[in-house]
Amino acid sequence: MCGLSRVTVSPQELQVMLEKREIKIVDGRERKEYDKGHIPQAISIAIQETIQAENPDRLTELFASNGISRNDAIVVYDDTFGAYAARIAWNLAYLGYGNASVLDATFSMYRDLGYNVSTDDSSLPPQEAKPEVKEDVLATIDYVENFVSEHKGHLLDVRERLNYLESHIPGASSVPWRTFSNNMKVFQDPGRVEQILTGRGISKDDEIITYCGGAGTLSSLAFYGLLLAGYEKVRLYAKSFIEWRSLGRPVDSVKDANYWDLSAD
């Protein structure tokens, strides 16, 4: 359904691609971090820029002006745990860039593996592009409402469990984002993800929507984690719980229990 040819690229695979110069690499970190050192050939498109360019036209212009065209194979990375990279990659997927994947390593992991980093300014000549929006990776608030009331599939709240207990979209299930994350790489082993989701009664034929608190970064990581594990019918509720609340939609909470006081944090 998403038509991505590959979801993730390993650092090892990336070396081959770098040599052949056959991909475009996007560094989603802050510009000043990029300047200190980045993966060779990577261009800087900070996540903040993508968040500011809120509509498809401006987003496409942002990517195009940075030299990315529709037919490019793109790999995105960051230095969080892959959430920012996944969000940028999702943006690309949404705009119809069918070949955007997430590096299965953060910048720090990549560097610590001993690969070369570069301080070259690797900007690319601007391209022409028009958005070709792929609506089937996005869930709007209306879609979510309808999805739940018609019991269509699984709405996954990927925030921390405590946040879910506090309040969540009625009908959502709690699958914390760490289900899809791995301390040593970015993505959890697909086999493990499948095992967990099967236990929760979520099958690969089911439609899934992911959401998180605000920026849609954790939910993007989950989005990609699901694709990697073979769950293809996935959408992102990009505007997230913050929109749901601000528009006054009803929420569910687990009441009468002081679960926050169990936290050691």
């Binding site: 009468d256 679960y259 169990l262 050691a264």
Partner: protein, 592 residues
């Protein structure tokens, strides 16, 4: 460092069985009751009023956990729980607010590191606890740990204890000065006697202890039970209880009530008779398997012993109550102070690394005071270890002092809880540390324990200052309150239950504690600790002005007033809440 062999307590098929049962339950093919019994047998409680959320109790026999197991718990609590785990008063790990459907996967992961949740809950023999100082205690006759593990193995999954009238608790102490032997259904203290020019290892076995609505201290079975009679003695008690416990009255059928009703002498005689039968009919091959070696490490040849000299006030303060010299020269144990037993995933991972780097024993112990103990630390490394602990946010002082307040789950997750005892325990610990009260030597041996209801999972009856939660009505409005008890203790062969003093509003418990400590400090004799001072007061033999309990109460009562709700709305809101207090409970799961 040698790899220490790890006992595998798990069975591969159990997670699959659990998955199957959840499936059948969801399909309506298993009744609510049967499913509940099954999941309790597999260590899974439902979380406060929520049938879809669960608490999983991971059995950690003798409280001993490996770094690998700690990393696994860290991983699991991040993916499936709230990012923190809990160290319980029976030395187990607890994972809270899990989705029921995730439990099979969690069990699968736990079995990979040798851990099970089998019989951690329900009407079975619960985790066998062992004083965290076993093997290093200067007062012990011998290390009971291999015996405690052996007994665990003997009873785990044993048909003998799959359907007892109620839960059953076995407590090992390291010596007659430490541990909870006298509040267990079976309590054991190691003892060596001289006989025929040689030595004989065995135990003092105590029976019929336990805390709750009716609390009793365990009594001695016989002067000395030789080690070869350990299994037969325990089997005799369990079998007798299995047959004779009142299965009709769930609220009053723990073994201690049976003992109380029969009278101890009669019970003792029946047990000794039962044991004779057990020994006569036990298959010849049944023997207690001693599991694991007692640790023994040589002192570092470069040992200087200047641990105490190093470091600033912070370190000294921590050293005072968190470091205990072992009987093995040059080594000390380090107790890590947790806030009411809660530890984050990152902290677990950090501790695993500290354990690997600083303890040749290579394991850490969970303690019944909801803390961790790291043993066999070279004293020359103590300052460094302190630095590492501070680095992961676990450098709090006061571990083996009154500052280390025990608090049961309370309203954070338990059906039976009336009040938020868990949060209150954390507030008390913070306050005592903030006021540097833990640095007063006189408070070293005292304790504060909080339960959220009368059932005493917080063990409030054995605290110097104990509190259990309830609700009070003041002119029609409900207020969260605690009953305060004083003078309780359980240390090896000594135990005494606290006496009820007075009612205290939840928000005033801290003030009352501070005031009680002030009264002690202003009237104590030289070098008199608070435990002894409190004993004097309870006896009616206290100092001028605090001669007896009535005096003490009169000092504290002004702080414990509950004004009407219009004047003091705060008093009608429990800790951790914004809304007005309303006692809410449901059927408990502690009884299957």
């Amino acid at each position: 460092m040698e790899r220490r062999p790890v006992t595998n307590w798990a069975r591969e098929e159990e997670p699959e069985r659990f998955a199957e049962m959840v499936k059948l339950y969801r399909q309506g093919k298993v009744s609510e009751d049967n499913f509940r019994r099954f999941r309790l047998q597999n260590g899974t409680y439902s979380s406060r009023f929520q049938s879809d959320f669960s608490m999983l109790r991971i059995k950690v026999p003798t409280g001993e956990a490996t770094p690998q197991q700690m990393r696994k718990v860290a991983d699991l609590c991040q993916i499936f729980s709230i990012g923190s785990a809990h160290v319980s008063t029976r030395q187990n790990f607890q994972l809270h607010w899990l989705q029921l459907d995730d439990v099979p996967e969690i069990l699968r992961e736990l079995s990979k590191v040798g851990l099970t949740s089998r019989e951690a809950c329900g009407n079975s023999i619960r985790n066998v606890i062992d004083s965290p100082l076993s093997g290093i205690c200067p007062f012990e006759h011998f290390d009971v740990t291999p015996y405690a593990k052996g007994l665990t193995k003997y009873f785990l999954r044993n048909p003998l204890n799959q359907n007892l009238p109620r839960k059953f608790k076995i407590n090992f102490s390291c010596c007659d000065q430490h541990g909870l032997a006298r509040i267990g259904d079976i309590g054991l203290i190691p003892k060596v006697i001289k006989e025929d020019g040689g030595e004989r290892k065995g135990f003092q076995i105590f029976l019929g202890g336990g805390l709750g609505a009716g609390s009793f201290v365990a009594e001695l079975l016989e002067e000395f039970t030789p080690e070869e009679d350990l299994i037969a003695s325990c089997v005799a008690v369990v079998r007798f209880y299995d047959r004779s416990g009142d299965r009709g009255k769930m609220h009053r059928n723990r073994m201690r009530y049976l003992v109380h009703d029969l009278g101890f002498e009669k019970f003792r005689t029946l047990i000794l008779d039962e044991r004779t039968i057990v020994k006569a009919t036990m298959p010849a091959g049944v023997k207690l398997e001693l599991i694991g070696q007692t640790s023994s490490f040589a002192q570092d040849p470069d040992y200087t012993g200047d641990a105490i000299m190093k470091g600033d006030d912070q370190y000294q303060g921590w050293f005072l109550n968190n470091v205990l010299p072992q009987k093995q020269k040059g080594f000390s144990s380090v107790t890590v102070t947790l806030p009411a037993g809660d530890v984050s995933a990152d902290q677990l991972v950090g501790l695993a690394e500290i354990c690997e780097n600083y303890s040749p024993e290579g394991v850490i112990r969970l303690t019944p005071n909801q803390n961790f103990v790291l043993r066999w630390v070279n004293e020359d490394d103590l300052f460094e270890v302190y630095g590492k602990l501070v680095g992961i946010g676990l450098g709090n002082r006061g571990a083996n002092s009154m500052a280390s307040t025990v608090g049961c789950s309370g309203t954070t997750s338990c059906n039976l809880a009336v009040t938020n005892s868990h949060r209150l325990a954390k507030e008390i610990q913070s306050k005592i540390l903030d006021m540097n009260l833990d640095l007063d030597h006189g408070l070293k041996t005292s304790s504060i324990k909080i339960s959220g209801c009368p059932n005493s999972c917080g063990q409030h009856e054995i605290a110097t200052l104990g509190f259990f939660g309830g609700a009070s009505r003041v002119e029609g409005a409900q207020a969260p309150t605690y009953q305060m008890l004083i003078g309780g203790k359980a240390n090896g062969s000594t135990a005494g239950l606290g006496t009820t003093l007075m009612r205290v509003p939840a928000k005033k418990v801290l003030d009352v504690i501070i005031k009680a400590i002030e009264l002690y400090r202003s009237s104590r004799e030289e070098k008199e600790n608070m435990v002894d001072w409190m004993d004097r007061v309870v006896r009616g033999d206290g100092p001028d002005g605090v001669r007896n309990s009535t005096d003490l109460k009169s000092h504290l009562e002004p702080l414990a007033a509950i004004p009407p709700v219009e004047l003091a709305p705060e008093a009608y809101v429990d800790w951790g809440n914004d809304e007005k207090f309303r006692a809410k409970t449901a059927k408990g799961e502690c009884a299957a």
